[in-house]
């Protein structure tokens, strides 16, 4: 088996293992180790790593998990990720988790933080509320204190002290990791036939489950193997996917889009692994550095406020241009407030730039791929035949 195939095989096993054996083994290997779960979209994983703990991404139960108990916790009209996350918890699949961070993604994830406080009162639970004000002496000061509170919370949980040097070391490791992930995106945009979207997805997903050092090495090995070899090139069009930053699509959905004739050359899967668009300085006050970089060098997405109307939606136009894409596929989870409320504004931005798009919805357990294949296939044909 080729090295790249071996790596993807490992990633696939990690992805499919809903008992999270790897993280359990990591924890069991050294007494006192802690695992901190986090949900999409963004948390400062550097702080968790600096505490000697494993940041562990919980991105729902996917299409392999039958949600039985989780449904009893939610009303009819809501996305699926909270249901399957509750199911993971109630079926003891998350019993090795020592803490949970819930980012300020939307009201559903926010309220899930309170649900965990009630369901798992014994663990460290924190709502990670990042600023929507981007002034250094306003949102910046607030965020510095938030990070400091996170630091103190983890110190208490672990009975440890997080030094500035611990944090600087973690910042450096995540700087490297982000650079590698960005390199993977660049490579895929340049030669999409060499890196199928499903492989890129699995590699990224592995980064949610592995220690950062191991994941970075995995990326290095994969890219070296891919660069050395070649794969058949198809006559596909090039698209950007938008809207998949929280509840994840089934792997088959990603595969179906490519099989329908669309190379996915950019996307918003697992934005936490490239949220900061510039390296965080490793000198000076590390918390202030994290805060400043967050304020001024974060990706733009539906879950954040855009203070400048002229900039609204331009991040997607930029993503299309940067990756030389020919169109956008809006694929949002059903009942996803951030993605679906943002979409009309993004569509206007694309209209202004004369970029074609299509839109559909999915759930993490969507099983019927035929309609999606037909829609994506028609979109690909229309781009290729008529440039529409």
């Amino acid at each position: 088996m080729a090295i790249s195939d071996q790596i993807i095989d490992r990633c696939q096993n990690l992805y499919e293992d809903l008992n999270f054996t790897n993280a359990r083994e990591w924890k069991a290997a050294v007494p006192g180790r802690k695992v901190i779960g986090f949900m999409p979209i963004y948390v400062a994983r550097e702080m968790i790593h600096a505490a000697g703990m494993l940041p562990f991404g919980i991105f729902g139960g996917g299409d392999q998990l039958e949600v039985i108990q989780g449904d009893a916790y939610y009303q009819s009209y809501i996305c699926r990720i909270p249901r399957s996350t509750i199911e993971l918890e109630l079926t003891k699949r998350l019993d090795f988790i020592d803490g949970m961070l819930f980012p300020s993604t939307c009201d559903v994830i926010r309220n899930l933080s309170g649900m965990f406080q009630m369901i798992r009162p014994g663990i460290y639970t924190r709502y990670f509320d990042v600023p929507q004000n981007y002034m250094d002496n306003v949102g910046g000061d607030y965020y510095v204190m938030e990070l400091q509170e996170l630091r103190e919370g983890l110190e208490k949980l672990g009975g440890i002290k997080i030094t500035d040097d611990d944090l600087r070391n973690a910042i450096a490791l995540y700087n490297d990791n982000r650079q590698l992930v960005n390199k993977l995106y660049d490579l895929r945009a340049a030669q999409p036939w060499k890196i199928p979207a499903t492989e890129a997805y699995l590699l990224e997903r592995a980064g949610m489950l592995l220690p950062v050092e191991e994941h970075s090495q995995m990326l290095i090995d994969y890219m070296a193997a891919i660069t050395a070899g070649d794969r058949p090139r198809r006559d596909n069009c090039r698209v950007v996917l938008s809207g998949m930053f929280c509840e994840q699509p089934p792997l088959n959905l990603i595969k179906s889009i490519e099989l329908a004739g669309c190379y996915i050359v950019n996307d918003d899967f697992m934005l936490v692994n490239r949220w900061l668009t510039k390296a965080v300085p490793v000198d000076g006050d590390p918390i202030r550095s994290l805060a400043t970089t967050f304020l001024h060098h974060s990706v733009k997405t539906s879950a954040t406020f855009e203070p400048n109307e002229d900039e609204k939606g331009q991040y997607l136009v930029e993503a299309v241009r940067r990756s030389s894409a020919e169109g956008v596929i809006f694929a949002a989870p059903s009942f996803c407030d951030p993605a679906l409320l943002e979409r009309p504004m993004l569509m206007d931005a694309l209209n202004g730039a004369n970029i074609p798009y299509i839109a559909f919805k999915y759930a993490e357990n969507t099983g019927q791929m035929q309609p999606i294949r037909e829609q994506a296939g028609t979109f690909a044909d229309s781009i290729k035949l008529w440039g529409v």
Partner: protein, 433 residues
């Protein structure tokens, strides 16, 4: 509320009105007229939200406040929202998202004629009080996209751990000082006067005192008010463009006097069909109401002798009954504390605590949750809250699903069926006891 003079079922428009109701009607009509005339009279217009609204601050700049949520619910009661929502969906908005937003955007697309039939002015400022609801942020981005006007964002951190920290309060105050107030000054051309703000806050506190008295009057048996359907009218002035005005103070003084009279006479709440005769069930209610079928929904309660003695929806614009009052001695900090403590900005465990307190203090028979399709801020997690409240109080709970202003999501037969079963359950529980 209405003082009913006949036993014949009445529509609210047929009823004889109390002084407070006449007062409120005049205030609302005046506000819509002021909005219509604002630009002609050289006044600037601020759009903002109910939770975390900064009405006293806005008044310091002689600006007129418009509340898109209020317009949506008013349009819902006038059966206008169905068409507005469909219009927004035709424009590309998803069927899955908040119907308040779509109702508002649909109204804008159809000429921005307000619920009273008067044209609404375009905003000069979108004051985005981002309190307890993610959708607010996107709603005002969408309105800004439409109007291309200035937006002031006030990010209010979520009280996830059930307390307001200094960091949260300082963050809100800093935003007020460094972003919100300068923008209000720039748009209005009026210099900020903190003493003027203090004066309005002093007025707010007076009204808040009487509002709390009115809401807590439901502890009496029989309750003189319905603290859900009826109280939606009572909180109207203080949740919108009137907090901090003398009109609001006067309204709550009149209302308190009228409720005192009801207590003295041992009367139950007034409903659209007259005074509720026999109080059989006392309920605590969680979640917003349905506005498109408000009277049909309410009737399902009072016909069976069920009165809502406390509700959480009437706390979205402030949790005054837990002690908060606007404080003129600490004006900006007080506004920050107000924003931080609005109901949907509280954690789920804190919301459970509030519901348990209500059930105990108001001697309620149980909890009813109206889960709203549109509102994840309220609805996500309510079923777990329900279990917790049942566990802690031993009182039965029920769960119904409707929507705020989308008539497609109100199924009268289903709701009635569930309510009737629930009332039977309460009866059985009583007999068992």
């Amino acid at each position: 509320m209405n003082a009913i003079t006949t036993s014949k079922p009445l529509e609210p428009r047929d009823a004889k009105k109390d002084q407070s109701q006449i007062k409120q009607k005049e205030m609302i009509a005046g506000n819509f007229q002021e909005l219509t005339d604002a630009h002609k009279q050289g006044k600037k217009v601020s759009y903002t939200f109910v939770p975390g609204n900064l009405n006293e601050l806005v008044m310091c700049f002689d600006m007129v406040g418009n509340y898109p949520e209020i317009n949506a619910l008013q349009n819902g009661m006038r059966k206008k929202t169905g068409a507005y929502i469909m219009e927004a969906e035709r424009q590309g908005h998803s069927e899955d998202v908040c119907t308040y937003v779509k109702s508002d955007l649909g109204m804008v697309k159809k000429g921005n004629i307000g619920p009273t039939g008067q044209p609404l002015p375009e905003p000069d400022l979108l004051l985005l009080s981002y309190t307890g609801c993610f959708t607010f942020m996107k709603w005002f981005e969408l309105l800004r996209h439409e109007y291309k006007c200035e937006t002031a964002m006030l990010h209010v951190p979520y009280q996830a751990d059930g307390k307001i920290t200094d960091n949260m309060r300082n963050y809100v105050v800093n935003q007020l000082k460094q972003d919100v107030i300068p923008k209000l000054e720039k748009i209005s051309g009026v210099k900020f006067d903190i003493d003027r703000l203090r004066e309005y806050l002093r007025e707010s506190a007076k009204a808040e005192e009487n509002l709390v008295w009115v809401l807590q009057s439901a502890k009496h048996k029989p309750s003189p008010i319905d603290a859900y359907f009826g109280a939606i009218y009572y909180v109207g002035p203080i949740f919108s463009a009137f907090r901090g005005t003398r009109d609001a103070t006067e309204y709550y003084r009149l209302l308190r006097k009228e409720i005192q009279e009801r207590i003295d006479q041992g009367l139950g709440p007034v409903t659209p069909d007259g005074v509720m005769k026999e109080e059989k069930y006392r309920l605590v209610t969680e979640g917003p109401p349905n506005y498109t079928h408000m009277y049909e929904f309410w009737k399902m309660f009072y016909e069976d002798g069920a009165v809502n003695v406390a509700s959480t929806y009437t706390k979205v614009g402030g949790t005054y009954d837990f002690g908060f009052r606007h404080d003129p001695e600490h004006p900006l900090e007080s506004l920050a504390n107000y924003c931080l403590s609005c109901y949907t900005n509280l954690s789920l465990p804190e919301r459970v605590k509030m519901l348990v307190t209500y059930i105990n203090e108001y001697q309620a028979d149980g909890l009813l949750i109206n889960s709203i399709k549109s509102c994840n801020s309220f609805s996500a997690g309510q079923l777990l809250m329900m279990r917790e409240v049942e566990k802690q109080t031993g009182k039965p709970a029920a769960f119904v699903e409707t929507d705020l202003v989308d008539p497609r999501y109100f199924s009268a037969a289903n709701v009635k069926n569930r309510l009737e079963s629930y009332f039977q359950m309460i009866d059985q529980k009583r007999h068992a006891a």
